[in-house]
């Protein structure tokens, strides 16, 4: 947001600029802060992130981690480390990423409703994914994005 090109301040003053509107994702900070290396095993990059964030080395109990190089010698102490108090700076593209995934989800849902006739689970007609067809459903989807209204 506050990017002003170096040494152009004297002429940039008063400039009108345009940027893609990016709203904060409601609840994301809360979600992010409770992520912990103990509870977020789903994300395969999270251990690496944790080590970088806290400049430390996690104990590698998985043998396939052996080849991983880590520049930190200090051992991590996950009991004392936490994302709850670290500086938080939300990437302005976050909402776009989430909405993109939601668009695919909506497309898949529409496709499933039509191709599988509302049956539960994956039907045989959809096991061979017709990506052009998915694209059609994706483009015809319309939904409230992640930064839109809350439904509680």
């Amino acid at each position: 947001m506050n990017v002003i090109p170096n040494n152009t301040e004297s002429v940039a003053l008063g400039a009108i600029t345009v940027k893609a509107r990016s709203l904060r994702v409601p609840g994301f900070e809360q979600y992010f802060r409770q992520l912990h290396v103990h509870n977020n095993t789903r994300n395969v990059w999270f251990r690496e992130y944790w080590q970088q964030k806290f400049a430390c080395q996690l104990n590698n109990f998985e043998t396939n981690d052996v080849h991983q190089t880590n520049k930190y010698t200090r051992s991590c102490r996950p009991e004392q480390e936490s994302l709850t108090t670290v500086p938080y700076n939300e990437d302005p593209k976050l909402a776009f990423v989430i909405n993109s995934i939601l668009a695919v989800v909506h497309g898949l849902d529409k496709m499933h409703k039509q191709v599988c006739n509302g049956s539960r689970g994956l039907c045989t007609e959809m096991t061979r994914m017709n990506s052009s067809l998915l694209m059609q459903f994706l483009k015809s989807s319309r939904f409230t994005g992640i930064t839109g209204r809350h439904i509680r």
Binding site: M1, N2, I4, E9, S10, V11, A12, L13, G14, A15, I16, T17, V18, K19, A20, R21, L23, R24, P26, N99, L102, A103, L138, K139, S140, S141, R142, F143, T144, G145, T147, G148, R149, H150, I151, R152
Partner: protein, 156 residues
């Protein structure tokens, strides 16, 4: 279920859809770079003065502070020329669509007239090697003007 507006978002909707070209809704914030009244050169910050949402412009013109609203034009130190002058012994080369000064290092070959093309090729090979050493990509290299063939090697 109760539908309520998000507290941080007074713009209702933020709907996602795709037009006939597959493009999503275009939404932009319009910002104005403003300085503090007491310290213009520092603390520059962007003030949102409007939005553009798929064709609908909302602009708070009274919030806009143009340059002349903030500083007299005479105060600004704007230099008006195409590019900085080169030092002695340097020559301008248009590289990356910007002007750089290259040092005129060495002149090869005495019989310029007879072997113009051959020498030109040699020079370009030398330049190529030098630029590769400098990690200048070939994409940039093709923008090198071929007019700078007068049998010199430019070193930055």
């Amino acid at each position: 279920m109760i539908v309520i507006e998000s507290s941080m978002n007074l713009i209702s909707g933020e709907e996602v859809w795709f037009d006939e070209n597959g493009d999503g809704p275009a939404r932009y914030d319009i910002l104005n770079l403003q300085g503090n009244a007491d310290d213009i050169d520092h603390h520059l910050h962007y003030v949102q003065v409007g939005t553009w949402s798929t064709g609908k412009l909302t602009l708070n013109t009274s919030a806009i502070r143009f340059f002349s609203d903030q500083r007299p034009f005479e105060e600004i130190n704007v230099r008006r020329f195409c590019s900085e002058a080169c030092q002695n012994g340097h020559v301008k080369v248009n590289l990356f669509e910007q002007f750089h000064c290259y040092l005129l290092l060495k002149i090869f070959y005495r019989n310029i007239q007879t072997t113009n093309d051959a020498v030109g090729n040699v020079i370009h090979v030398v330049m190529l090697l030098y630029l590769m050493k400098q990690h200048v990509s070939l994409v940039h290299l093709v923008s090198l003007p071929m007019k700078i063939k007068p049998l010199v090697v430019f070193f930055r």
